[in-house]
């Protein structure tokens, strides 16, 4: 019988990525406790990444700046430089492409590599991984960890649960050893299990990945539908996912969320921000040549201890990419679901994107003129920046346009 070729999938993860990039750019930081931290004045004062020296003091990603200072008084805070991190991530992609043409970034600091057909060129998967790790260290000064598996899930588990703790910075899981290695791990370590799911499992007496694996697949499916089934498969190291290169993977939606500089309690202020975000999201949809069918609005309450807020979506009467058509629905959702309590973060997305169609004949509005106006405005903003042409509401006190322009992911570019 012909042997089926085993797939060789890597998940490569960069240690403390933002902090490592800052150290690579400024070698005087090497060996010191460094935390990349947003601006505390604007409440982005949480740690985005901490160097391994900072982590040794107990500094964790997501911790507020004051807490880090308490844990490690001589910690060095560095402002984020998002565009630089994107540039480094792309350089890493280029290095990976010297080993395989199938590289799929999963986030800014994690990328999947399929070396099924090319690992032998480097003497085998383990040698290829070692060569990649060395090259990234030599060229960029960043420590890369690689998990290897026969599918993306095994690679991800190998990286998160083992490679990060291994001195070799590499770990291999496969169908033969998956159970032996992962089943003793706590259920929260399984990919796809978040805090809420972890609590559900604990209530059922499922405390390890092995406990979950011992349950009936159908029972999980009955409990949580396809999500339950997916977790059962993950517990067994079975994964049907395909990793597509970016060109093949269609973008599903465009969205935008932001933490507000202070808690907003007045509806007018919140609506201004919602409007600005609607414009931004529609601008991005137009740039992709897409229209969205579904609008999603998200508001999170200010009080961390009593989570409030809502997350609701609604279908547009027809696909659209203009704020004039999308915003009324955003506002309706907001007015319907907001409980009147202060808001800390808001988000909007347009999903179920479809190719932009020629304008349908519409009796009630002058869509063609509006589209021409949008196109002209887009061109001006592309050329002269987002603040070159804006609505007057963006000058009102709560507006965020001038604050968010030139930022990436809510942080300084």
């Amino acid at each position: 019988m012909a042997q089926v070729e085993r797939r060789v999938i890597f998940l490569a993860d960069m240690e403390s990525f933002y902090a490592s990039v800052e150290t690579a750019r400024n070698p005087s930081l090497r060996g010191k406790p460094v935390a990349v931290c947003g601006d505390p004045a604007l409440r982005h004062g949480i740690v985005l990444a901490a160097s391994r020296e900072a982590k040794a003091f107990g500094v964790k990603t997501g911790a507020p700046a004051w807490e880090c200072r308490r844990l490690c008084p001589w910690i060095i805070f560095v402002k984020p430089h998002m565009q630089t991190y994107i540039d480094y991530s792309l350089q890493i992609t280029r290095i990976f492409e010297q080993f395989t043409d199938r590289v799929v970034p999963y986030s800014i600091d994690e990328q999947f590599l399929d070396l099924t057909g090319s690992a032998h060129l480097f003497g085998g998967p383990r040698q290829a991984a070692a060569a990649i790790i060395e090259k990234i260290w030599e060229e960029l000064g960043i420590r890369c960890r690689i998990g290897m598996g026969e599918n993306p899930l095994q690679a991800k588990m190998a990286c998160d649960c083992f490679a990060k703790r291994s001195p070799e910075l590499f770990f291999e899981l496969n169908h033969d050893n998956y159970a032996a290695h992962t089943w003793p791990l706590p259920i929260g370590d399984l990919f796809g299990v978040g805090h809420r799911m972890e609590r559900n499992f604990h209530r059922m007496g499922v405390r390890t990945i092995g406990h979950l694996a011992a349950l009936e697949r159908q029972a999980l499916k009955r409990l949580w539908g396809v999500n339950g089934e997916l977790l059962w498969l993950n517990a067994h190291g079975i994964d049907y996912s395909i990793i597509e290169t970016g060109a093949a993977a269609p973008q599903k939606g465009v969205g935008h969320t932001a933490t507000l500089p202070r808690d907003y309690a007045r509806p007018e202020e919140i609506e201004v921000v919602l409007f600005e975000m609607t414009e931004e999201v529609c601008f991005r949809a137009r740039a992709l040549g897409k229209m969205g069918c579904v609008v999603h609005v998200y508001c999170r309450g200010a009080d961390f201890d009593y989570p409030t807020g809502f997350s609701r979506q609604k279908r547009l009467p027809e696909p659209s990419d203009t704020a004039a058509a999308v915003y009324p629905l955003v506002r309706r959702l907001f007015r319907l679901h907001w409980d009147g309590r202060p808001i800390r973060a808001v988000g909007i997305s347009l999903s179920e994107l479809v190719e932009r169609r020629p304008v349908q004949l519409s009796l009630v509005n002058d869509r063609e003129r509006r589209e021409a106006l949008n196109r002209a405005a887009d061109r001006i903003r592309e050329r002269f920046g987002k603040t070159s042409l804006f609505r007057a509401v963006s000058l009102t006190p709560g507006a965020q346009l001038f604050h968010s322009a030139g930022r990436i992911g809510g942080h300084e570019a």
């Binding site: 998002m82 994107i86 991530s89 792309l90 800014i108 993306p152 999500n227 996912s241 597509e244 970016g246």
Partner: protein, 113 residues
Amino acid sequence: MSKKLRHQFACSSMMLPEHRSSLERHRAASERREKYRRPVLDEQAQELFQQALQRALAEGAPLTLTVLSDDGCRQVTGTVAKLEPWAGRLRLRTAAGPVTVHIAEVIQVGDGS
């Protein structure tokens, strides 16, 4: 099979829009490089190239060059005005005025008739 089972990583992927568009630009550039990769000219072709060039210089005969650059493939027809081997350049007089061609980008030479 449910779509979710095939796309758990695509669904959970976190990509900044700015990162996504840089990647797209990078991919487009790679594809372009692959598409317009310069063929390796064999010796015979190079010799023919030399001969045609010399004939064109000596007789003032028109020449058609196929040039492959980052902008794609194009053809230029004209008579040789100047040869600048040290700069790797060739100046042609064409119907549309003078044109400078980088010799490294020439992949085919034919007579201009």
